[in-house]
Amino acid sequence: MAHDVLMPQLGMAQDAGLIVAWHKGPGDPVAADDVLMEVETDKATMEVPAGRDGVLATIRAAAGEEVPVGNVIAVIAADAAEAERVAGEVAAASANDGDAPVEAGATSASPAPAAVDAIAVARTEGATAEAPRPTGASPSGNGTADIAAPAADKGAGPTGRILATPKARRLAEARGIDLAALVGSGAREPILYRAVADAPDPGEASIAAPVATPIAASSALEALAERSAFDALLAEADPAPTRAAALAAFLAGAWRGSRGADSLRIAVQTLGAPPLRLTDPDRVPLSRLGGDDAAAGDGAPDISLFDLTESRLASYRPAASGTSLTLLGDGTAFRLLLAFDERTLPLSEAAHLLDELARRIEDPIRQLL
């Protein structure tokens, strides 16, 4: 087994030593009593023996270098084969991080003078011992202590197993909910009880079988739109309209841009606010959307808009026929779900509409022009 040679402490107050000369080189066999090197302290120069029999595998501090007490300055291997291997590892390590071999060992072997180090050691051990390894992903190599690791967003991982808490799994089984489908519809892993409890019954909603959705009477399209530009635009408007009203304006704009229309009525629903009817919201400045200018027309809406962003809801499929747009998503992107009837809104037009809306959200200048 390879043995680290540390810079010895040769005097009471000495904290570093200057290597004057090496008496052995890498590959040389050494006996415990052989002089390995000469070290100069502020008081004297001393010959330091190897301390054990073996083969000098690598030297990590050249003659002329001053090295803190306790740092690794050389490695003595049991035999030539091990010496070769150790030397190879050192070379590989230094090639990887661009550090000289002397740097590689510099931090690992500093002496532990006080309780601070004891604490650091204990914490590191604690963190390593407890690190959960649910996905088979390797635990963080540094073992940074005392920090809760972020949730494994990527999920399934190499094993393909979905991360869900026992309680969530139990409920999913009882309700016949497929966890994979839940993940497919955007649920974060590990899946918690709440996510399963909030999921609609598998018989009634697309969530349990997203692949099967097209079978339903109404068709569905989904788009993603990055939202930062849209959010910035909203923040600039004074007074700021509600996000749902602004989205209605964009939707109306996209509709008019892709299909043309004289007058557009949009029914808007959000969580925790009364439903809203807007007529031609795209023809009103954003800052006036809250006023009467775009308020209520009578008659059936041309399209319904459901803003469910920033809720924990993962999906919605309207039971009623007609055209509806549901917004889901997180702080960075909207998921736009367009449900429509191909008899009244052909697929090509629906696709065009949704694509145009997503483009407008990502690049609001398309709306403002």
Binding site: R123, A127, E130, P132, A145, D146, P166, P190
Partner: protein
Amino acid sequence: MRGPPMRELTLSKAVNEAIAEEMRRDPSIILMGEDVAEAGTPFKVLSGLVEEFGPERILDTPISEPGFTGIAVGAAMTGMRPIVDLMFGDFLFLVMDQLCNQAAKTHYMSGGKLSVPMVLRTNMGATRRSAAQHSQSLHALVAHIPGLKVAMPSSAYEAKGLLKSAIRDADPVVIFEDKLMYQDKAPVPEEEYLLPLGKAEILREGRDISFVATSSMRQVAEAAAARLAEDGVSAEIIDPRTIVPLDEETILASVRKTGRVIVIDEGHQSFGVTAEIAARIAEKAFYHLDAPVGRMGAMDVPIPFSPALEDLTVPTPERLVERAMASLRGEPVHGA
């Protein structure tokens, strides 16, 4: 605790009252230890007892923990009900043979012919700047030995009620008082009461996460729960009161309700009380868990003398809030 008239008592005074009441009731009770009579212990817990009961029943012993603990075991076997005062919990290491080989096993090894109705009162708890040999919380050590009961009062109320039950118990009971709580006050009924060994108490009802907190960790849990409440998180707090016997049912029922739990105890985390309780929860309420069982114990280092370092080694409300929030967010939880 509704109904009976209450007054505020320090934990120290509550212990004193429990012993005095029991000694008045039962003449076979004696109390022995270092500096218990004239000095009334370094924490002044026993002040005044020698005046009432005399030096025949309140015995100042030489500085020989194994000696007087052995005497107590023998006295208990032969009809007395000794209360042994071990000045610091750290001195448990000195009495391990008397306690674990003799007191704990006598009833079993005598085929039930002998019993050892003694109480060993001692203390625990760090952050008193008493350094590594006077700050340990060693209750897990004795909880590991079958035949010993272990009580951990979390306030003056528990201290009095549990100690009176311990004194009346037919078997050896070790009772750990947190030395930082001796001056803490809590409402204590005017009239006599007993608290059963082996019955946990729900100190605070909640629905989102359970804290199982022993001894002074109750205060940590209560402070954390108050802060979490400001964020709309409702934490339930369970005080096991005794870790042997452990009221598993109350703990498991709470976990089944909330789905999340953090166990907080001031003993070293590794191989300790938090590990035992966490393991039982994982075994018996696994399918109700919505997050990994969390543990917070003292860091696995000798308690540092440096105040700044010592404070880092024990669970705090801040760290508990952090851990609770991580658990609620569904993050895997690491670290001590």
